[in-house]
Symmetry: C2
Subunit: 234 residues, 2 copies
DNA sequence: ACGATTTTGTTAACGCGTTCACAAACTCCT
DNA sequence: AGGAGTTTGTGAACGCGTTAACAAAATCGT
């Protein structure tokens, strides 16, 4: 598998790294998970077809995606699970752990804080922030809830680069501004608003109402097409 | 072959409704939210530029998106907020309320069950399902937690067409199968696995670890480019 | 040693989504 | 009424992502 055609690692040549499409990036974590699943079941090698099946995509897309990273497979054989897994993890940046701060420890923030699944995927919840004085000092999953005005200190001390916003929508922009001011440059936003951030800061939003509304649209169409069929049958 | 050739039209393709691109569908809820925000602030009319600003997209895209629904604006004037809002809501299927069942009332399921924001966006959490006998009958937000084996009855009685899966990953496919068997045809999945569903069933997944990993990738690239710059400056 | 078989890596075609740019349609002012 | 100004709706160009298809490279059997 590790034939002689390695990579010109270290050399500052035409960076193969430069142009990984965003759509591919978004699928790499899925491949990573599929590979982890295979590894857990003792599988050591897999073809693009098998991997694609486990990831829920077609094999042409999977191969194309992997080709942006390098040539980590062996023709006629497939991919070595653990090797490919490492390469993808490295590409995503999961050879290090990332520290995360959660701001807003209400219903949702609490669930996130208690969730054990982040740690195994390279993320460490390092701080919990709220503005409700009655909650200061309360311990959740071994971490104390800390006042918002200590955000700067906490972000610096824990080397936090990722922030999660789980406050009500009306505070979210303010919280976002403070996160950015504290040095956070990646934000995962659960509040249902459009955040404004300066250049260089990445925002991803998770909006559950939107997901439900998209489902509702298709649900309605399904219902209508049934009506159409019945009407057409008359 | 693009030129004037409209569509393969085929049988009876008169419906303007038929061909709304998926990407547009995914943005309609954002426009809806922006319109609601404007309406709340007493704004009765808005240009595509204003609306686009509130929605975080550019105005050309917004106009194109709206053009798939119909011609609801007035040239030289803009869009009437309440009228457009109604038209979008109708298109998405929000003139009716949709009943939702949440399966798996743990950390996350609990947060979802308690969330008050769904009701105002056309969704009614109508049932809570778990398999932990010690939780049966427990009330959350006015609803009793119900055993999984009553899923069929509950789905039928409450006319539920949307299911939310918030169980551990190892049970999620089983839960999914049971939801489908019970008649649910739209599923929002929080478990980190790829669900297999029959034709006609829509699945959307919300995967927080993936979101964080995408952020981590960009974070790493930002860090690397700083290193590159410093190295280049020598 | 070599042809048959498998499966990757990649090129080229295709399709979808975004953006540009402008005629058409409206309001307002004189 | 008519001209100036505004803003929509949309055709066309463009770019990105997906898919199909196949040559290249590996293994296997004889
Ligand atoms: N709970 C859900 O399932 C759910 C679903 C979809 C979206 N959301 C969104 O997620 C966000 C949180 O929802 P929730 O149900 O957890 O709300 P919540 O009201 O239960 O919790 C909000 C928490 O944020 C804290 N807070 C308020 N202002 C703050 C500030 N400026 N800085 C730090 N903390 C602050 C509050 O003290 C509270 O603890 C909301 O924007 C909501 O719309 C939640
Ligand atoms: N909590 C989070 O913030 C978070 C974040 C990302 C992903 N997730 C995913 O969401 C899912 C739920 O996470 P959680 O933290 O709430 O887990 P949890 O363990 O707190 O809750 C799971 C609940 O599901 C119930 N359950 C188990 N099997 C069931 C079945 N067959 N039918 C019905 N109910 C069943 C359990 O009794 C429990 O109440 C998991 O798949 C997790 O990976 C959670």
């Amino acid at each position: 598998m590790t034939s002689r055609s390695r990579k010109p690692v270290g050399s500052r040549e035409v960076r193969p790294d430069r142009g990984i499409p965003e759509a591919t990036i978004a699928r790499l974590p899925i491949y990573l998970r599929a590979l982890t699943g295979l590894a857990d079941r003792g599988v050591t090698s897999a073809s693009s077809e098998e991997l694609a099946g486990a990831a829920g995509v077609n094999s042409a897309k999977l191969r194309k995606d992997l080709s942006y990273l390098g040539t980590y497979g062996t023709r006629g054989v497939g991919y070595e699970v653990s090797y490919l897994r490492y390469q993808i993890a490295r590409e995503i940046g999961l050879t290090q752990d990332w520290n995360v701060v959660i701001v807003g420890i209400g219903n949702l923030g609490l669930a996130l804080a208690k969730y054990s699944g982040f740690a195994s995927r390279g993320f460490c919840v390092a701080a919990l922030i709220d503005t409700d004085p009655s909650r200061y000092g309360e311990k959740v999953a071994g971490l104390e809830i800390t006042p918002l005005d200590q955000l700067d200190r906490v972000v610096a001390e824990c080397s936090i680069s990722i922030g999660v916003i789980a406050t009500p929508a009306n505070n979210a922009q303010n919280v976002c501004d403070r996160l950015v001011a504290a040095g956070v440059s990646s934000i995962l936003n659960f509040a249902p608003i459009v955040l404004n951030v300066p250049e260089g800061v990445d925002v991803r939003k998770v909006d559950l109402s939107i997901e439900l509304q998209i489902l509702a649209y298709h649900e309605q169409r399904k219902a209508n097409s049934v009506v159409d069929l019945e009407a057409g049958a008359l």
